[in-house]
Symmetry: C2
Subunit: 110 residues, 2 copies
């Protein structure tokens, strides 16, 4: 399979398969928390536009952790990757949890 | 300093120094989540009485992670170590957060 096609195969867990411990682990990192906070107010963002200061390969890793925990959805369009927050899926499984954590983060790091 | 005295020097962070990411990391583990859930209903427990199936050295590690994140308080009495949940401290810093996470965990693993 050509590399370009493999790159497009992004795996997203089904909303029924959420693991709370994976969600907590994904959020227990400043860069990933910032990505999620940004998406909570901005519905969809291109990958290079998040207010985080890390190397591209590190950012790719953080997006993968968030994606595999079910926190974000990513899609390829042309040569850009677009990211959205899976808020409805999360709230369906764990009502109010994400906003409770984001409110705590806002108290900690406004 | 004799070993017995060193063992008694348990470090507990001040409630003002809570780090949300440390709290989330501490809870992102099944054994540690079980310890916290148990303490949420049982105010104080001796260390060997938690419903977890791990080696004593592993349990010591988990207690240390919880203690350093400010989730639990431990005190020595005779040759037993007693553990309590720092719910008031946590709720003072992050109102409602712990119960929101515990409610999500109950939905995930009743």
């Amino acid at each position: 399979m050509p590399r370009s096609q493999r790159r497009a195969a992004l795996v997203h867990p089904d909303a029924r398969d959420y693991d709370l411990l994976d969600v907590l682990h994904a959020l227990a990192d400043r860069t990933r928390m910032t990505i999620v906070r940004t998406l909570r107010t901005d519905p969809e963002r291109a990958c290079g536009t998040f207010p985080v200061d890390v190397a591209p390969s590190t950012l790719t890793h953080h997006f993968r952790v968030l994606r595999e925990a079910g926190l974000i959805h990513q899609r390829e369009e042309g040569n850009r990757r677009w990211t959205t927050l899976r808020l409805a899926d999360l709230d369906g499984r764990f009502p109010g949890l994400l906003d409770s954590i984001l409110a705590a983060d806002k108290r900690a790091a406004p």
